[in-house]
Amino acid sequence: MKLTIADLKRGQRGIIKEFTDDTIPLKLLEMGCLPGNDVELVQIAPFKDPLYLNINGSHLAIRKETALKVEIELVE
């Protein structure tokens, strides 16, 4: 099983590896969600969606369905 942002627990960090499909919105890339950058799960909204992330110092929130498309590698 490949890990994605959606698998992170609160406070856990990872490094973005790649996107699982091409439909990833350009806007997400522009906001700093790029391969090689680091990502931390800051907060999960009530009802488990959306996810509040800190990607390389940029704070943003995305829905789980998008998070599932971003593969990561865990940082211990």
Binding site: P50, H59, A61
Partner: protein, 699 residues
């Protein structure tokens, strides 16, 4: 006179761009619309040292030059079109010191356009707190520009920025990275096909849906010897471009920028933990909403009573001072009460805009979006729909425009369709006066005022109806679209007084003047219709009254009957009588019927209309409220405005689609008459049925 320097202010949202704009221009600014579209255009004049001046345009906030909305299109079109009169001599890119990396993406794109570009690093006052240090000289060298370190909160760095603007000629115009390296072969072909055009501009025209000058995408693709790429390939290239830009930025910042991670960053985390908590988050959100509505009702009642009295006195005074005649009557019975009907709502509207701008400035609104997304999604809306729904409490027009950042078309369309159910400020006048007439001014448990609670219930009803109809629409509409959702979570900031104040003044002013014009015009028309009549009964009202009552009446009573006969036989009386059968089952008389019909132009006309009709009908000086309280129901007897008819009216105004401007905006945003027509008929139908049911049950 020296030439004005054209300056374009550009930046990501949440960088304090507007504060910088406010500092540069002071109150010397105006807000208009771009021709043909409804995007707000903010421009102002900035006085520079040595007698020079700059004309500054505050462009809509954008994360990049890859347009995904109308607002962003506009930024690109201005920057690409050298013939535009606003084409900048110099671009000022505003960035936030804490988000420099992301902000610089836009900077590198602007730089590639060959416009002299100054970089403003804003919020410099937070550097120490966040442990950030920057080697400005080295950064200037790497980015090939001049940098102004500004703190709009502490008002530092603005003079330095002005100096840089004056000397814009010294700023290099070469790009800071080579974007064509993402696909050298393709860009080479492009260069050969259009030797005279800037390569990056061509690239933007190809990838965006914009035109500039005489060049457009179709022509480029049809040019011989140039092999266009498929859409998916272009998208891949755009991703590659973004990555290349970030690589460059990462490299530059590594050399010039250090952050001491031990520096405090607790406040944000602590606040986030509470404000987005699964219980406290909602409790806090609803408490804030409750506080706002109580405040709007309680705090503004004092200035409102004062304004109501003042206009009643002004009307009386003008009648006494001016020579008697038609013109004086027009002023004292038509224009002054009509104007009073709009001025009276300034306190409330100002309070409402004050709270909304505080919520947005502080960064709290994004947390609400985050908190509500999952719930709203269930109803076919997006978390981002919360912003239009909340700002819809001010006015549906900006709210419909605020839906532009919702990425999914279906969610956006549903939001547009249901936003007019939220209680906009134009409904407030109607609610307030009806509530004051039919709901007792007493307290519940000694704290909550019944009138305030009723108002709160009406707001909840508006939201409830929006959400419910969204749910229905989501079930019946079959639109598929790619859905995604990205929102920035900005840091918390203490709202800046100056920004909030300017915002409140601007918004209130445009409400008063925008609505004021319609109200004034309608007041005059109504006064004319109420003061003249076609038949004999109108002209011989005295004779009619004498015939009916003989000479038994006192002079005062006689006059009262005469004016009421006149009003009933005036043009407006005849029209009102014609529609009375339709409104009588709802508990209204023909005068309210007329007020409702004229409200279809704009709701806030209601009170002004009644004020005009009643003031033509009575000679006593009284406030609008007292006059309404004295009206008698022609069929049932008793006060016309009682609990049953009052609730019926409140429900009618809560649901009916009575605003031509909103319909026009919806047409423009959805590009079809189908949706506004649907709103007009469905909403007004619901309103009629609800009002009918309420009156028949309660009477």
């Amino acid at each position: 006179m020296a030439k004005q320097i054209n300056v374009a202010l550009i930046g990501n949202p949440n960088t304090g761009k507007t504060s910088v704009f406010n500092h540069l221009t002071g109150l010397n600014q105006q807000v208009g619309n771009y021709p043909g579209i409804t995007v707000e255009k903010k421009e102002g004049i900035c006085k520079l040292p040595r007698g020079l001046k700059a004309h500054i345009i505050d462009l809509p906030g954008t994360y990049s030059l890859n347009a995904s909305s109308l607002d962003e299109n506009l930024v690109i079109e201005l920057l690409l079109n050298k013939n535009d009169k606003d084409y900048p001599d110099v671009a000022v890119v505003v960035s936030d010191v804490e988000n420099l990396k992301r902000n610089l993406l836009l900077y590198t794109q602007i730089k590639d356009l060959g416009i002299p570009t100054i970089l403003v690093i804003n919020m410099a006052d937070r550097m120490e707190l966040k442990g950030i240090s920057i080697d400005i000289d080295l950064l200037e060298e790497r980015l090939k520009t001049k940098i102004a370190l500004v703190s709009s909160r502490k008002n530092t760095g603005i003079e330095e920025l002005k100096e840089l603007i004056i000397n814009y000629g010294r700023i290099p115009t070469e790009p800071c990275l080579n974007a064509s390296s993402i696909d050298p072969e393709y860009f080479d072909r492009l260069r050969k096909a259009f030797p005279n055009q800037s390569l990056y501009k061509l690239w933007l025209v190809i990838t965006q849906d914009v035109n500039f000058g005489n060049l457009n995408r179709k022509e480029i693709n049809l040019t011989q010897d140039f092999l266009p790429k498929k859409k998916s390939e272009l998208k891949r290239l755009q991703q590659k471009e973004t990555i290349a830009r970030y690589q460059f930025i990462n490299g530059v910042l590594k050399e010039t920028h250090t952050v001491d991670i031990n520096a405090a960053k607790d406040l944000r985390a602590k606040l986030d933990r509470i404000l987005t908590h699964k219980v406290w988050g909602y409790v806090i959100f609803f408490s804030i909403m409750l506080l706002i509505f109580q405040a709007i009702y309680d705090w503004s009642s004092y200035p409102m009573d004062f304004i109501d009295m003042a206009f009643a006195e002004l009307s009386e005074w003008s009648k006494n001072v001016l020579p008697a005649g038609v013109f004086t009557n027009l002023i004292s019975e038509g224009i002054i009460p009509g104007l009073g009907g709009i001025v009276i709502f300034i306190p409330q509207i100002a309070f409402l805009f004050l709270f909304i701008s505080l919520l947005e400035e502080s960064g709290y609104m994004s947390r609400v979006v985050f908190l509500m997304d999952k719930i709203m999604k269930r109803f076919g809306l997006s978390g981002k729909s919360v912003v239009p729904l909340v700002s819809g409490t001010a006015c549906a027009i900006p709210a419909v425009m605020a839906t532009r950042n919702i990425e999914n078309w279906k969610e956006r369309l549903i939001t547009i369709l249901v936003v007019p159910f939220t209680t906009c400020s134009a409904r407030l006048p109607v609610y307030l006066i009806i509530i004051a007439l039919v709901i007792p001014d007493e307290r519940f448990l000694g704290i909550f005022n019944y009138q305030g609670l009723t108002l709160m219930l009406l707001y909840l009803l508006g939201f409830g109806m929006s959400v419910f109809s969204a749910w229905v629409l989501n079930k019946i509409m079959d639109i598929k679209g790619k859905s995604y959702f990205v929102i920035e979570m900005p840091d918390y900031k203490l709202p800046m007084f100056k920004n909030v104040a300017i915002n409140v003044v601007e918004k209130t002013k445009s409400f008063v003047f925008g609505a004021g014009k319609i109200i004034l015009a309608i007041s005059i028309v109504l006064w004319v219709l109420a003061s003249y009549g076609p038949g004999d009964d109108f002209n011989n009202a005295e004779a009619v009254v004498t015939q009916e009552y003989g000479n038994s009446l006192s002079e005062e009573e006689f006059n009262k009957h005469v004016s009421s006969v006149k009003l009933e036989n005036s043009y407006i009386g005849i029209m009102g009588k014609a529609i009375e059968p339709a409104v009588a089952p709802l508990g209204y008389d023909w005068k309210i019927g007329i007020a409702i019909v004229s409200s279809f132009a704009a709701r806030e006309v209601f009170v002004g209309t009644l004020a005009t009709i009643y003031s033509v009908g009575s000679d006593d000086e009284k406030t609008i409220k007292n006059r309404m309280a004295a009206e008698v129901n022609p069929i049932l007897g008793g006060p016309l405005f009682n609990f049953a008819s009052g609730i019926s009216l409140l429900l009618f105004y809560a649901f009916a689609m009575q605003c031509m401007s909103t319909l026009a905006i919806v047409k423009r945003e959805t590009n079809s008459w189908k949706w506004p027509a649907l709103q007009l008929f469905i909403m007004s139908g619901i309103a009629y049925v609800a009002a009918l049911a309420a009156f028949q049950i309660l009477k």
